[in-house]
């Protein structure tokens, strides 16, 4: 006699400033061995992120098509409805700041499908009231944990409508390559310190830009190996440009033990991966619509979990470089991160998802 059918889970991510929404969903999806998981994403990185592991479908975002949101909404609604009709999920999990009305409307034709909003916290104060009303359209709201929650002044901070789980990151300790192996794969010397710079797009040669300023300052340190990530989506091959190593791997966290320190954004994933894997980091707060990266970066500095870097401020940059190359400071931060990290909540989040349909 056969057992009950595997639950069918459709993970839907919007296309945010980075890959955060998609990465959180993939973190959940890879921890559901008994479920049938399908990904519908507006991120062009979806192929790189899930190919070979999960079935996926790319739906171009308004930005990718170069059209306005109103026209795009029609396309989204039709194609999301088609995906739901084809896959017939027991549960749809949306991760994004703005739930799409078209997605919620798709349940009219499939009333038994449960809807879950994976809603990252740490919203900028006073913003997001409109989309919070959409929470009523979901059967469950899951809030991935936030290490810097004490600094959260956003509208979700005081709400009690969400199931809170520990912070969600893609990988666990066991997934990371050992230091020497990782360095070997990246072509890095074993006997010199290495710093990873992961600030997204930017021109290495433009010293007036954030990326160029950071790379320029780090490259001036004798003996320091400077590595720059290029988003996998940009398609650069791993190589060396003007003495700077270019790393185009996904997920780059798998190679994080190759590095002694990092300069990265204060987005949810980058920040929590740095804390989870005790990689001493300087955090740059990107300007995003809703994610309060500034609060996260400041919290890290105030609590000894990293630095808040303002790349275009010469004093801030000089201070940061001094710290990043200081092994004593790095050891202190790594230790602090280990005490702060509560463990990966990806499996908990997935259990909450499946709990809705079981």
């Amino acid at each position: 006699m056969s057992g009950p059918a595997a639950p069918r889970v459709l993970l839907v991510s919007s296309n945010g400033a980075g890959m955060g929404h998609l990465t959180r969903l993939v973190a959940m999806g890879r921890r559901a061995p008994d479920a049938e998981v399908h990904v519908l994403s507006m991120s062009q990185a979806v192929g790189q992120a899930v190919a070979g592991r999960l079935d996926f479908e790319y739906l171009p975002s308004a930005g990718d098509l170069g059209i306005g949101s109103r026209r795009w909404s029609r396309v989204f609604e039709r194609r999301a409805a088609a995906a739901v009709a084809r896959f017939r999920p027991d549960v749809v999990v949306f991760d994004g700041a703005y739930p799409y009305p078209g997605l919620l409307r798709s349940r009219a034709a499939h009333p038994s499908t449960r809807m879950i909003w994976s809603r990252r916290a740490m919203w900028k104060p006073g913003l997001g009231a409109a989309q919070l009303h959409e929470a009523a359209g979901f059967d469950l709201v899951i809030e991935p944990g936030e290490v810097a929650a004490a600094a959260d002044r956003g509208l979700t901070a005081a709400r009690t409508d969400a199931v809170r789980v520990r912070p969600v990151v893609l990988l666990d300790d066991d997934d990371l390559l050992e230091r020497d192996v990782a360095r070997g794969e990246l072509g890095l010397a074993l006997d010199r310190p290495a710093v990873l710079v992961s600030l997204g797009a930017g021109n290495l040669a433009d010293i007036d830009g954030e990326l160029g300023a950071v790379v320029g300052a780090l490259s001036a340190v004798p003996g320091l190996q400077v590595c720059v990530t290029r988003p996998a989506i940009a398609g650069d091959a791993g190589s060396s440009v003007g003495g700077v190593h270019v790393v185009s791997r996904y997920p780059v966290t798998r190679w994080s033990r190759a590095f002694d320190a990092a300069v990265t954004t204060a987005g949810y994933n980058s920040f929590h991966e740095a804390v989870a894997f005790a990689l001493p980091s300087a955090f740059v707060a990107n300007t995003t619509q809703l994610d309060d990266q500034l609060a996260r970066a400041r919290w890290a500095q105030e609590h000894g979990a990293g630095l808040h870097l303002e790349p275009l401020s010469a004093p801030s940059l000089a201070r940061t470089v001094d710290r990043l190359v200081d092994p004593v400071w790095r050891a202190q931060v790594a230790h602090r991160c280990r005490t702060l990290w509560p463990g990966n909540g990806a499996a908990e989040a997935m259990a909450a998802v499946l709990g809705v349909v079981r």
Partner: protein, 171 residues
């Protein structure tokens, strides 16, 4: 009741007539026609209103795209030229993205790919689908340039305006 009052009533955002009109016109006007086609990131100075969209479908596998993309870039530089949307495996997406073209996913399963192409024809309002022979990218570029304009392009623009009015959210 004067005409102005009737028009004001019909124009109210929640008016059912207005909603019906929006739904009806929405079925007539394919989602991405009636306005500039996708791919505007590659050159805002080129007038593209009502330019035909061509689905350019690549075969499976890691075929070199350079010749095709260079040919397409030259082909679409002219005013009124077609707008290609490339349909390919995800491995090729970064290079297509860098070239500035809109792209869609190619599915390995033939039946799923067939349904997908039907949806893309509807999405982009096109009947023009060019299958690329990797050995002859020039033929694909020529086929893109020769793509026919879908009938009634002049009608879709005013319909789109009506739809936009009917769909307008209350401010």
């Amino acid at each position: 009741m004067n005409l102005a009052r009737i028009v004001r009533g019909l124009s109210a955002p929640g008016n059912p007539v207005r909603r019906l009109l929006a739904a009806g016109v929405g079925r007539l006007v394919v989602p991405l026609t009636g306005g500039p086609p996708p791919g505007l990131r590659r050159g805002r100075d080129v007038p593209r209103r009502e330019a035909p969209v061509v689905l350019v479908v690549l075969p499976a596998g890691p075929e070199p795209l350079d010749a095709l993309l260079a040919g397409l870039a030259r082909a679409v530089a002219a005013p009124g030229s077609p707008t290609p949307v490339l349909v390919l495996d995800h491995e090729g997406w970064p290079v297509v993205r860098r070239a500035g073209f809109a792209l869609e996913q190619r599915f390995a399963d033939p039946s799923r790919q067939g349904r997908h192409l039907d949806e893309l024809r509807r999405t982009y309002g096109t009947d023009a689908v060019v299958q690329v022979d990797p050995a002859d990218p020039a033929a694909a570029v020529a086929a893109v340039l020769g793509a026919p304009v879908r009938p009634l392009p002049r009608l879709r623009a005013p319909l789109r305006r009506i739809e936009g009015w009917a769909d307008r959210r209350p401010s």
